[in-house]
Subunit: 201 residues, 2 copies
């Protein structure tokens, strides 16, 4: 049994990750709600405070990254920066700061999303930052300290979120949360490193 | 003959691009020195002022993007943000603002760099933002207005810069500036769109 720090535990993606983490002790974190710890991943201070409070953990699983959606011609600098500072720099900072706290042989698992390889209108900032995170994980895996590992799950839309996103994703096939959970499980319980785990149908 | 706005004209990569743009009218821009227009791509106001001064142009070729280099464990938030705001958001903002000024059927050509597919130590921020720009170009090409196009040149190290970078790039083979110039030429004078033009040996 490992101690897994799950960020975004109450969200749909957090719940999907949970389906693959049943054998572990879960420490839940999120921006609000009934979680063990409150954290805002866009704040370095909040991230550092989280790790100080949590103490020992073997794996960090992040399932959050806020994105703004608009046509490229309409998207403002502020919308770009909100996406960059959450989905991209928020996750990079979780690893950058977390590398000083995670246990030897631990693992980081981040989240990106399918729009960087299957673009749709409105999703340019999501796609761009997903491409950044997929690249970050592949490259930084070569310099992780103390035998720690890092992977990223890149899922298509969840079946459980299809009612919200289906209209903007014509021709996409949703996947069940349990299949996405398997990808998180493969990252946390396997020995893979630097991989982008696509979960698509 | 097209009017090409070349940003970073005095740098080594700008000079490489120039070797492929010989048949065009060049308007040069850069942060300093003997260029037609001074511009700082990390400033929205500076970018907008550039386009207002330049007036008509058929192609924008950008060859600049400042990056910080350090081991991931040593790289600070400030170093990350300097890279993100120049190589990534600087280039995105050139396109975001420039789409209102570029001529119909015009083209944007951005710059990334080989470290996102051939990682080396110290280059994690360069690699991550190069991955972001390669992804951005592939995805945003599908929503460019008025038949404008966008591509990105992703070169390995220039032969002309090997004396500076060779020691940190063991096993890499530099390419001549003229070969990189061909990639810029293929983007500006061709009809390709959404392509990452790798120039590697």
């Amino acid at each position: 049994m490992k101690t897994v720090l799950l960020i975004g535990a109450l969200g749909k993606m957090g719940q999907a990750a949970l389906t693959g983490l049943g054998k572990h002790k879960i420490i839940s974190a999120g921006r609000s709600g009934a979680v063990d710890h409150i954290v805002d991943i866009t704040s370095e201070a909040s991230i550092r405070a989280l790790f100080e409070k949590v103490g020992h953990f073997d794996a960090l699983v992040n399932t959050v990254g806020a994105c703004e959606y608009a046509h490229f011609s309409d998207m403002t600098e502020a919308q770009w920066m909100k996406t960059v500072m959450s989905k991209m720099m928020g996750q990079i900072n979780l690893v950058r700061i977390g590398q000083d706290y995670i246990a030897d042989h631990g693992s980081f698992t981040l989240i990106s999303g399918i729009f960087n390889v299957k673009p749709i209108p409105f999703a340019i900032a999501d796609a761009t930052t997903s491409g950044a995170i997929d690249t970050f994980v592949k490259c930084v895996s070569l310099e992780m300290p103390r035998n720690t590992r890092i992977n990223v799950v890149n899922p298509t839309v969840l079946a459980e979120a299809w009612d919200v996103y289906g209209d903007m994703m014509p021709g996409f096939e949703p996947v069940p949360s349990t299949l996405v959970g398997k990808a998180f499980e493969r990252s946390v319980d396997g020995f893979i490193n630097g991989e982008v785990l696509f979960v698509d149908a």
